[in-house]
Amino acid sequence: MMDDFWWITTGLKVLFVLIVLLQVTPIMVWVERRGSALIQNRLGPNRVGPLGLIQSLADALKFIFKEDRVPGHAYKFYYFLAPLISLIPAFMTFAVVPFASSIMIDGREVVFQAAEMNVGLLYIFAIASLGVYGIIMAGWASNNKYALFGSLRSTAQMISYELSMGLSIVGILMVFSSVELGEIARGQGEILFQLGPFAIQKWGVFIQPVGFFIFLTSVFAETNRLPFDLPEGESEIVAGYHLEYGSMKMALFFMAEYVNMFTGAAVVSTLFFGGWQMLPGMPLILDSLGFTGMTHEWTRVLFEHLSFGMKVAFFMWLFVWVRWTLPRFRYDQLMDIGWKFMLPLSLVNIFVTGMMIYWGVL
């Protein structure tokens, strides 16, 4: 199994994922700045390069050349380790997300997924739960009360929302009876019901709408994005866990946040929006192109990549969009929503899904 072919394809897949993930941050910083500006009736950065696209590069350059300042009261070793600890899990999680279906090369199936793992979704949860260590470490090593408050808040928030996040997808797992993301994406290609010429696919959002909303909210909380960005509430605790961080170390926290967002968006689109399943209309275009053989296959894979990319892009935009629309929740409201509303709701969702499967509705 582990011959040259395997090594080459796996290497290429890992490289592809890594390159995409590294591009996420600069692009998203640009989207965030331009998006927020346009929403607030401003223009945003539009000078560096066309439409200000090179702005992120300039930012990165600035971060690299900034003075690497270390506060004297910090625990040095953990202070330096913390940004890395928060960045590495963010990059690791994407490994099990499929970004297209499979293709036959030389009579061998190549799956577009960096690691095809039996535990799939559990792996994502396991690794994503490690991201909190970076934040704890940062808060503690900074040796600053506001940083510690930020990291404590973040920890409490992440643990609370991990529960409803995990429970909200149980419904999906029950319907597709698998935790492997590739299988779930494949299962969503089935047709739920035919509406004249339009076939409604068995996307997760149609069969698990409640689960979808709970999961989406939890993803917002897990990635520390507004309206749940309590860990860095500027007005209350200055900047939270990355208060004492500057230059590239701060940028690493930034990167971790955006890569986490990207993984979150990818998981949401895989679980609830069909993953790499083509968007409505795309199969028709593919057929009308009239390719055959390998060309057809490669075009299909390209279309699937495109569909997946568009879905993920939409959710990335949703993150930005929501951030500049909603104000921050109060901390007790956050905990109330998590424990008193979403947790019972997701339990009810599991129960109802179980009943529906038992009666053969799903």
Binding site: S129, Y133, L152
Partner: protein, 179 residues
């Protein structure tokens, strides 16, 4: 695959032992806790090498992702000071005895395991068979919800009891504090 396995095993085992020692010898309790996280990681690596991916994942999910986070949380809140070990009270004889006994125990275990001619018992679920049956997760899930449904449910009841007990104790203490 089987050729590279020993390398990884010794790597993870080494990491586990090294960080276990750090857990004990680090003066700062939070550093000890972080070292313990690394130990759990190494364990997860070893489980993964044994083709038990689910156990490895659960190890990370439950121990590193949840339990140790709470541990670190509590340690940070308690704000324990670095206490240097007071060597004055311990006599040299006591230290010598401890080291000697542990060394003897180690030798005893190594010799007895070598002598025992230990043949690993291969049960019903070898890696190959598990793969045939649809992978770790499926096999475990099916077993849990068929053959072992009663112990599984009873465990959850036990956990629920523990939660209720904890809350009850905490609430009673609170009331006493108020009055």
């Amino acid at each position: 695959m089987s050729q590279i396995q020993p390398v990884f095993f010794y790597f993870f085992a080494g990491v586990a032992i090294a960080f276990s020692l750090l857990v004990i010898f680090k003066k700062n309790p939070v550093s000890s806790a972080f070292s313990l996280v690394m130990v759990f990681f190494a364990f997860a690596g070893i489980y993964a090498l044994l083709q038990a991916h689910l156990v490895a994942t659960l190890q990370i999910l439950v121990y590193t992702g949840a339990i140790m986070v709470l541990f670190v949380f509590v340690l940070m809140l308690l704000n324990i000071k670095n206490t240097p070990i007071d060597w004055k009270g311990t006599s040299l004889i006591r230290i010598g005895t401890t080291v000697g006994v542990s060394a003897m125990l180690a030798v005893f275990f190594i010799v007895s395991f070598k002598k025992a001619n230990f043949v690993p018992a291969s049960g019903l679920f070898s890696p190959e068979r598990v793969d045939e049956m649809g992978g770790n997760t499926q096999v475990l899930a099916e077993l849990m919800f068929s053959e072992y449904i009663l112990p599984f449910e009873l465990t959850s009841v036990l956990l629920l009891g523990a939660i209720v007990g904890t809350v009850a104790i905490a609430m009673r203490k609170n009331k006493r504090g108020e009055s």
